[in-house]
Symmetry: D2
């Protein structure tokens, strides 16, 4: 049984790590930290987890924590995570970081959209935690930058097409729709029930920080500069991201062949479900699970290929994928503890 | 006071016509029909309207109805509306039809997506009821084909750009998101609360019947063949359509100039609100009203122009626009009875 | 045209006053105040009202405001409203206060549940603004304490039974269910979309401050001490309060007679709709309107009488009722400006 | 590994049995039946379960099914279940029936609210499947009538008080609020998203068929005739039942003693969480789990005791409890396969 710390455990991502790990046969959460809630028992902050264990939130005293655990998830705000990882990594334990701090290869790109990276040498040692693309590198690393929620849906949707240079890399449109849990658990006017319910809007049009993350990864996959237009929307639902991705085939667009590309890449992937012709994913069908559901539409006349992916932003888009990565880091079977079916309705 | 009939008044569109007309100073609803509910008082079918009048649903006996009213809204299913219009128009009263039966200029296009049109000569006499584009023709007509809900948001979003040949007409993407009332009031598994709530999906990808309607109109506006990719999504909310429209500037894309085009076309339009730079519409801000809110984003580097429009699908997308059209047909001030502000939250 | 000020206009209640007054033929809003938002145009704080007028939020400078308006709505937090009313009332303009500050006859009760009342002499001059019960007194007053949202639904539900001493006054149970807008527009963890959606809970069990307000009024109506058990619940919806009220008949319980009592009291009331036998109200049927819908169930065997009332908490439970009161104060027809039908769905 | 049949597997309850059993180490679903969907693979009817197994819906051919399984869940409509149980029980396999057909001890009560019971001798052999009350009898039986969703929340809330004769048994009020999944997966106008969302209403006031079920059980527990007033409400959420139960203490009402009664009865129960003083349950905190959360409020002055319980209607109110019962019937640990934490948000 591996002893686990969750640094920054009081947000929705932390809660989800705790929920899923409650059923993991090889990981045992021993430390949960929260400056705001230190001293409070778990069930007071997350009433749904009342009764699962007797954990109490503590302050993040890294030198002490290092000695008590075999691995750590860090789920702090951007910038704070760098510090946590830097402190914890000295004991050489595997770390999955759920902030943006270890998602970029290029420190300048990180700096342009977040802040100057205080530990760029650690950046160089970290790996982007999307197992479907970077599985082997993840296994060999100690620091994994867990992908953003939007990037997960977008990259998995585009990986086969761009790897096979099947689409024009310069003009990709990603119209993404997210549930509200992606905005976190902080008090806020803009995510009040009354401001969100029964409405729908785009936000950060042309300026969301997940766009450069997606572009850096897709460019790596395509081995050429990929340009995207990324428009996120906020949907009145708790969980889920649907990404409707518009591409143009670089050659002829044969629906059968496009589908075959996806089969080739994904049929052995345990968390990817390629839906049949004419069936398109619904976020409700992946809720609570680590699945990515994919639907395809190819129009030979216009050479338009539409790829639609659905994930649970808190699971495959955050905590579930983090555990998938940690399974790789700790040499567990990759699917351990994250095979529970979606919950519907 | 003009005496009004609503043919097919028991759906959400019929209810919305009744709701809005309850406050219209120049129209008095005298006849409401419904085969299913004939004999029932209004308040039994629409409990929210209990107490507003003593109307009782009746069977659609057109020869009798013709003599009792000065104008009619027809809100029957596609095909049934043609017959109703054909019967009513013999008395030369103005008619606004809310089905798809009079939205097409080309009977072949209608036939390809709906059915063979039984009265094509009436089609030739009808006008597409989007006042912001076809105001004068509407005033001069007797039969108005009220636009579909998706087409309303899409066409108003694209009209200035295409009129000014400012964008490439061949590659327009319309990613549309609709509330559930657009699916009507019939019992159905797919629109049960439990199937819709907390989820999101695209439907009729590449095959929605509003696509040819949009294309026919946009081609007319652009004076050239316009090709669109149209993807509708179903959102867990009652009302509202958000259309996120992706275009590519045909020349350079100067944000200031693009905005000026919209100002020129729309600043005098009573129901269009062009939002300031950096503000994007939310369907919650137009709920219950006849407004179209428009947000613009122009990226000079990629020449990408994103236009986002929000409407209430039951108001500007159906009943409100129908009344706007009827105001024109009956020589009322165009805004009469449809100026109530949106209701939020 | 009466010139109107809304003091504290940036909350949901303020927005609702502005929405409804936009269609009022006799009141013209000239002043809106907000310390937080002073200097901002209306449409920036309430995007749904963009385009309705050119009002700008200003600081509450009462001596100046007094001279600019004929009447005022005060919608400040409890305690702050007292001061506003005290300042404004010196110019003898009619005031409807939407806080709790003028809802109590007994300053000690107010003190026990809110704070020591700084202007008890004004309390003595104020009237409880429930027109269905206190219409004549309201007409004769200058300061109206607009009822709380829960009390409105509860008192209107119980007024006929208690006036007629038809039920045991000592053991009344009010199980109330409210939409989230009742919690206001302040940033807050507990009313985030994610905390509210898809869940349901009771709150302030045995300790909600609307209980003493209800008890004081009901005791006044019943001319004896009335004791209630009041349990509010928070429902995942924006608007609406459903009050399920359990009473025990003091004598025999004849369904027909109980219904007749309600008819006698309410058949002439313009905003009360007594639903037929077997029909029970839904908050969706009163949304956006000033209606109170009432359903009745009487079981002769157990002498249990269940009264269920539905209101829109922001309209009949706040802004609509405030305008109803102001109509009385300014000698308008009581229903002026508040007759728009509910909006459904 | 026990081989399991689910008779009538295409409703929400069937889907939930399949979801939970996917993780059960000792039960293997081999047969799923549905007349409507026979021949379809599981993933077509329940897209969220795509990929979990290769089950195909089949027609309910009981003689054949009997030989293929070790135990059966029957989840057919009332009346149809009797027949299924009668056919299956001949092979002496344990059966948990999720309809109302085996919930009543008294065939006359069943007849009064459902229909004449065609196999009353089987009724006599069945046990009411509420393990917290009837655990030993369940273990010894072959046919378990799984409790209704409302009765589960109500009876668990009242069991300690009535067992201890701590409250007046004649005047108990149960104000219950349910999510929409309780209404099933059939096409229906009244449970459309648009009819349910943003609204709230009571239904079947004074006439819901769960009332006699609750009364029969509570009378058995209290060893005297218990009379309840039961009012169900429909809430715009998928899952969950909150029961707000109003009782009057038969003697003095000491909050500490009342709480101690609950501790005595429930502290060893694995699925009951007694919340601390001042904390009241939310259905969101039990979503997807088999928990019953209980909050208590006792007012010594009025002797009013309020008990609030929250369950997931599809889990503890249906499929989870059925598996709990089946664990008892098959001699598994009672909690096997149903310990996953709630999912929040």
């Amino acid at each position: 049984m591996k002893k686990i710390a969750i640094i920054g455990a009081s947000g929705y991502t932390g809660g989800e790590l705790l929920r899923i790990l409650a059923g993991h046969p090889g990981m045992d959460v021993r430390v949960i930290t929260s400056r705001e809630h230190q001293g409070k028992p778990l069930g007071e902050v997350f009433p749904h987890l009342r009764g699962y264990n007797d954990l109490v939130f503590e302050a993040p005293d890294y030198p002490v924590i290092r000695g008590r655990v075999d691995a750590a998830f860090t789920a702090l705000p951007h910038q704070a995570s760098i510090q946590a990882v830097a402190e914890l990594v000295t004991s050489d334990i595997p770390i999955v970081d759920l902030s943006a701090d270890f998602r970029f290869t290029d420190a300048d790109v990180y700096a342009a959209h977040y802040a100057v990276h205080s530990h760029p040498h650690l950046l160089a040692k970290s790996v982007y935690g999307l197992p479907e693309v970077y599985r082997d590198a993840i296994r060999a690393s100690r620091i994994v930058g867990n992908p953003g929620c939007y990037p997960t849906g977008a990259i998995i949707g585009l990986y086969p097409l761009l790897s096979e240079t099947a689409v024009d890399p310069a003009h990709i449109i990603i119209d993404a729709k997210s549930g509200v849990s992606g905005a976190g658990r902080g008090p806020s006017l803009s995510t009040l029930y009354t401001e969100i319910s029964e409405g729908l809007h785009a936000y950060k049009v042309g300026s969301h920080r997940h766009a450069p993350e997606i572009e850096e990864r897709l460019s790596d996959i395509a081995r050429t500069r990929v340009g995207i237009t990324f428009t996120p929307h906020l949907i009145p639902m708790n969980r889920g991201i649907l990404s409707t991705i518009y591409t143009t085939a670089s050659r002829t667009a044969d629906p059968r062949k496009i589908r075959m590309i996806y089969s080739d890449y994904y049929e052995k992937e345990p968390f990817i479900r390629l839906l049949p012709d004419g069936v398109f994913p619904d976020t409700a069908w992946v809720r609570g699970s680590n699945f990515v559901d994919i639907g395809l539409f190819t129009d030979p006349d216009t050479r338009r290929i539409i790829v639609i992916t659905a994930i649970d932003n808190l699971v495959k888009g955050a905590a579930g994928q983090a555990i998938q990565n940690m399974n790789l880091l700790l040499d567990f079977e990759e699917t351990t503890g994250i095979t529970a079916p979606p919950i519907f309705p």
